[in-house]
C-alpha cells in the first residue's frame, strides 16, 4: 500500500474530513446562541433555537397575537408529549420575502436517515411572519414539526348531531 499513493491520498482525505466534521460539530454546539430579532429570519432562528433548548416560554413569546392563539400550556404540551418532535429535525432558514408587514421565509427541514446506511430526506417549506403594532416580527404559521396544525383554528363547540 505504501506505493499506492492514490489510495493513501484517499485515506488521508477521509481522515481530514472526519476531523473537520467532528471539529465543526463541537464548535457549532458550543458557539450557538440567540441572535438579533430585527428580521423575520432572526425571529425564526430564535424560535427554533428556543425549542431546541426547551425554553418554551421564550419560544411562545414569538407567536403572533391573534384570535384562537394557543395558550402557553397547550403550546408547551404539544412539545413535551412529542406530538411535535423537534429532536428529529434540523432547519435551514432562507432569505425572507417581505410585503406590507408580512414575510414568507423559505425553510429546508432536514430529517435524518434511520441508520448508518440510509440517507435522510429534506423538505422545502415556508414559514409566515407578521409585524405587530410595535413593528416586531411574530410567527403566524410554520410547518410540522415546529407548529401544530390546529393552532389559530377556531375550536368547534357544536355538539355532534345524533344519527337519524
Amino acid at each position: 500500500m505504501k506505493e499506492d499513493r492514490f489510495l493513501l491520498a484517499i485515506l488521508a482525505g477521509i481522515g481530514l474530513l472526519v476531523l473537520a466534521a467532528l471539529g465543526l460539530f463541537f464548535m457549532r454546539q458550543q458557539g450557538q446562541d440567540y441572535g438579533p430579532e430585527d428580521s423575520p429570519e432572526g425571529v425564526l432562528r430564535n424560535y427554533i433555537f428556543a425549542l431546541e433548548n426547551e425554553d418554551y416560554a421564550r419560544a411562545y413569546s414569538y407567536l403572533y397575537e391573534a384570535a384562537n392563539k394557543p395558550d402557553f400550556d397547550q403550546f408547551q404540551r404539544a412539545f413535551l408529549n412529542q406530538r411535535l418532535d423537534t429532536a428529529n429535525a434540523a432547519v435551514q432558514i432562507g432569505e425572507a420575502r417581505r410585503n406590507n408587514g408580512e414575510a414568507i421565509v423559505p425553510l429546508v427541514i432536514i430529517h435524518p436517515g434511520s441508520g448508518p446506511f440510509s440517507e435522510g430526506y429534506r423538505e422545502t417549506v415556508n414559514g409566515q411572519l407578521r409585524q405587530n403594532a410595535e413593528g416586531k416580527w411574530q410567527i403566524s404559521s410554520l410547518p410540522y414539526p415546529l407548529w401544530e396544525w390546529n393552532w389559530y383554528t377556531p375550536a368547534t363547540s357544536e355538539p355532534a348531531k345524533p344519527l337519524p
Binding site: 474530513l17 466534521a21 423537534t86 435551514q92 432562507g94 432569505e95 423559505p106 435524518p112 436517515g113 441508520g115
Partner: protein, 656 residues
C-alpha cells in the same frame, strides 16, 4: 419409465400423501379436542374427506411407482424418486420438528409467567395438537426411511441418490443452524431487554430463544457431524454444493455483521455526540444489533474456516504432483478465495462511499446552510456517516489490500490475479456505477445552474448545488481510483502476456495452396502479435529440427486424415500441442465444426493458441444454445432479486 410419467407419479404421490397425513392429523386433533364447543362437525367432516379422497389416489400412484422401481433398477435409481423420498422425509420431519418447537416454546412461555399466545409459534395450539402432528409425521417419516434404506441396499446406479442425500443433509444443517443462530439472538436480546426495560418482553424472548436452541442445537450438531464425517468420501469433499453453501453462510454472516455493527456504532456515536439518552434507552437500542452481530459473527468465523479447509481439499494434489500441477492447484485455490475478498470489498466500498457522502452532506449543511439551526438531525447525520465509515472503511481495506497485493505480484500468480474474470467484473462494475453516477450528478448540477441562470433559482441554490457537486466529486474519485487500478493491471498484464507469447513459437503445417497458411498467420498475428509463427508446406516432408522446437503445431484436417509416413511419424513424436482445423477431407466427417469457413476455423485455432501460450487450457467448444443463455440470464436476474429481498429483510430487521 419415461421421465414425465415418473414426475407425474411422484408429484401426485407426494401431494396425496400430505393430504392424507394432514387429514389424519386433523381427525386425531378433533378427537382429542374434547373440550371445544362448536365447529367439531365441520372439523371432523373436513378431516375425513381429506383422508377418503387422498388414500385411493395415493395408493394408486405410489404402488405404480413402487412397481416400476421394483422392476427396473434405472427407475429405482432415478433422481425424481430420490427427490420424492428425501423431499417427503424432509417435509414430515421438519413438520415434526416445528410442532416440537411450538410445544416447547408454548410450555416455556407459560412456565416463565407469560401468556401462551405470546409464544412465537403455536400460541393458539394445544399439547394434543402438537403431539398428534409429531407422532403422525414421525410414522410417515419412518415408513419413507425404510423405503429409502431398501433403495440404498440395492446400490442405486449413478450419483442421483448421492447428490439428493447431500442436498437433504445440507438443508437440515441450514434449518437447524437458523434455529441455533436466531435462538442465540433472542437470548442475547433478552439480556438487554431485561436490563433496559420493565415488562414481560424479556421473558418471551427467553422462552423463544431456549426453545429454538433446544430443538436446533441437537439437530445441527448431528447433521454437521454427519456432513463432516462424510468428507472422507471424495465426492462429498469435492462437491460444488458444499462450496456454494459454505460461501453462502460465510457471506451471509459477514453481511449481517456489517449491517448490525453499523447500527451498533450509530447508536453508540449518537450517545457519544451528546444525545440525551438514558442508560435504559441506550441498552435497548444497542441490544438488537449486538444480539444479531454476535451469533452471525460466530457463523462468519466458523464457516470461513470450513470454507478455507474446503478450498484446500478441493485443490489438494498428490505427493507425486509435478511443479506444474502444484502451481495449477495453487492458482485454483487463489481464484476460489478471491470470490470472498471481492464480495467483501464491494460491500466495504459501498459502505465507505455512503459514509463519505453523508459526512460531506453534513459539512455542507453545517457550513453553507444559511442561518442553520443546529438540530439533532444533524447530529444523527454525523453519527450515521461516522458509523458507516467505521464499519465500511476497515472492511474495504481488509478485503481490498490483499487483492491489490496479489495483482501486483510478478509471475504466473500475479498474471492470473490480474486477468481473472472476477477482478475485471469487479472493476468494470465499479466503473459502470461511477460513470453513470457521475453522468446523472453532473446533469443535476447543470440543471440547478441553468435554472438559476434562466431566472427560476431553486430555494437553497448554493447548498443544493454543493450537495450535488459533492456527489459528483465522489463518483469522480471512485472512477479515477478504479480506472487507475485497471490501467495498472492492463500495463502489467500486457507486459507479461507479450513475454509469454514471445516464448511460444507456433508452426503451421500448410498444404501447397497458400490460403490455409495465410488465414492462420493473419489470425495468429491479430490474436497475439508477439507470437513467433512459421509456416511449413507438408508436401516437402517433415519439418526440420528448428521448426520442431515449436510449442504448438496447427494442421488442416486433411493432413490428419491422410498423412504421409514421414509426417505421421513426425506428428507422433512432436512434444507440443497439436491443433487441427476441420478442413474437408474426402471420406471424413468432423462431428464438430465441419461446416465452418476457413476464416472461422483459423480464428478459433488462434484463440486456442493464445490460451495455451498464456498457460491456460483450451476452452471447450460452446454447445449451449442462445436460448439457454437467455434462460441463465433470467435465472441470474431472479436470483439477484431474491438476494436483494433477503438483504432488504435483514436491513429492515436491523433498523427496526
Amino acid at each position: 419409465m419415461p421421465t414425465i410419467r415418473r414426475l407425474y407419479l411422484y408429484a401426485v404421490s407426494f401431494v396425496s400423501l400430505e393430504t392424507v397425513l394432514w387429514g389424519a392429523i386433523g381427525l386425531l386433533r378433533s378427537i382429542f379436542a374434547g373440550e371445544e364447543i362448536g365447529g367439531s362437525v365441520s372439523r371432523l367432516a373436513g378431516a375425513l374427506s381429506l383422508i377418503l379422497v387422498g388414500i385411493p389416489v395415493f395408493l394408486l400412484h405410489w404402488l405404480l411407482a413402487q412397481r416400476g422401481a421394483a422392476r427396473d433398477a434405472q427407475d429405482r435409481s432415478a433422481r425424481l424418486r430420490a427427490v420424492f423420498l428425501y423431499g417427503t422425509l424432509l417435509a414430515t420431519l421438519v413438520a415434526a420438528a416445528q410442532n416440537l418447537l411450538a410445544l416447547i416454546a408454548r410450555s416455556l412461555t407459560l412456565a416463565l409467567g407469560a401468556d401462551a399466545w405470546q409464544a412465537f409459534l403455536g400460541g393458539s395450539q394445544s399439547l394434543a395438537d402438537n403431539l398428534v402432528a409429531v407422532f403422525l409425521n414421525a410414522v410417515i417419516a419412518a415408513y419413507i426411511y425404510t423405503v429409502l434404506r431398501g433403495d440404498w441396499q440395492a446400490s442405486p446406479q449413478g450419483d442421483d441418490f448421492l447428490e439428493t442425500r447431500r442436498l437433504y443433509n445440507y438443508l437440515w444443517m441450514l434449518y437447524s443452524l437458523a434455529l441455533v443462530v436466531f435462538g442465540s439472538q433472542q437470548l442475547l436480546n433478552s439480556l438487554f431487554s431485561l436490563a433496559g426495560a420493565v415488562g414481560g418482553m424479556g421473558r418471551v424472548l427467553i422462552a423463544n430463544g431456549i426453545s429454538m436452541l433446544l430443538v436446533g442445537t441437537p439437530i445441527w450438531v448431528f447433521t454437521w457431524t454427519l456432513i463432516q464425517r462424510s468428507l472422507f468420501e471424495p465426492p462429498e469433499a469435492l462437491s460444488t454444493l458444499r462450496l456454494v453453501i459454505l460461501y453462502g453462510l460465510t457471506l451471509a454472516g459477514a453481511i449481517t455483521v456489517l449491517g448490525a455493527s453499523g447500527t451498533l456504532a450509530y447508536q453508540i456515536l449518537r450517545f457519544l455526540l451528546g444525545e440525551d439518552m438514558p442508560a435504559a434507552t441506550l441498552l435497548s437500542r444497542v441490544g438488537s444489533p449486538f444480539s444479531l452481530a454476535l451469533p452471525f459473527g460466530v457463523v462468519w468465523l466458523y464457516y470461513r474456516r470450513a470454507l478455507d479447509a474446503g478450498i484446500r481439499t478441493l485443490t489438494l494434489t498428490g505427493p507425486e504432483a509435478t511443479p506444474a500441477e502444484l502451481q495449477a492447484a495453487e492458482l485454483r485455490a487463489a481464484s476460489l478465495r478471491r470470490v470472498y475478498h471481492y464480495v467483501l470489498s464491494l460491500l466495504g466500498l459501498g459502505a465507505t462511499f455512503m459514509g463519505l457522502h453523508l459526512l460531506l452532506t453534513f459539512l455542507i449543511d453545517s457550513l453553507v446552510g444559511g442561518q442553520a439551526v443546529f438540530g439533532s438531525a444533524l447530529r444523527d447525520n454525523l453519527a450515521a456517516s461516522l458509523a458507516a465509515l467505521v464499519v465500511g472503511l476497515p472492511l474495504w481495506l481488509l478485503a481490498w489490500r490483499p487483492l491489490l497485493r496479489e495483482a501486483a505480484l510478478p509471475g504466473e500468480m500475479g498474471d492470473h490475479a490480474r486477468r481473472s474474470t472476477l477482478r475485471k467484473g469487479y472493476l468494470f462494475l465499479v466503473l459502470f456505477v461511477a460513470v453513470i453516477g457521475l453522468m446523472f450528478s453532473a446533469g443535476a448540477v447543470l440543471f440547478q445552474l441553468l435554472s438559476a441562470l434562466l431566472g427560476d433559482p431553486p430555494p437553497d441554490l448554493l447548498a443544493g448545488t454543493l450537495r450535488l457537486v459533492e456527489v459528483m466529486l465522489l463518483f469522480a474519485l471512485l472512477l479515477g481510483y478504479h480506472w487507475q487500478t485497471l490501467r495498472a493491471d492492463n500495463r502489467l498484464a500486457e507486459r507479461a502476456l507479450a513475454r509469454a507469447h514471445a516464448q511460444f513459437p507456433v508452426l503451421v503445417l500448410a498444404p501447397d495452396n497458400g490460403e490455409f497458411a495465410n488465414h492462420l498467420v493473419v489470425a495468429l498475428q491479430r490474436e497475439a502479435a508477439e507470437l513467433p509463427v512459421a509456416a511449413h508446406l507438408y508436401s516437402q516432408g517433415a519439418p526440420d529440427e528448428t521448426l520442431s522446437a515449436a510449442r504448438a503445431v496447427i494442421l488442416p484436417g486433411e493432413l490428419l486424415a491422410k498423412p504421409s509416413e514421414a509426417m505421421r511419424l513426425w506428428l507422433q513424436g512432436f512434444n507440443g500441442a497439436r491443433l487441427v482445423v476441420p478442413t474437408s477431407a474426402p471420406g471424413w466427417h468432423w462431428i464438430f465444426g465441419s461446416g465452418r469457413t476457413l476464416t472461422a476455423g483459423a480464428n478459433r485455432a488462434a484463440r486456442a493458441v493464445r490460451h495455451l501460450a498464456e498457460g491456460e487450457e483450451v476452452p471447450p467448444p460452446r454447445e449451449a444454445s442462445p436460448w439457454m443463455e437467455l434462460v441463465y440470464i433470467f435465472a441470474a436476474l431472479f436470483a439477484a432479486q431474491l438476494l436483494l429481498g433477503v438483504v432488504g429483510l435483514t436491513m429492515s430487521l436491523l433498523t427496526r
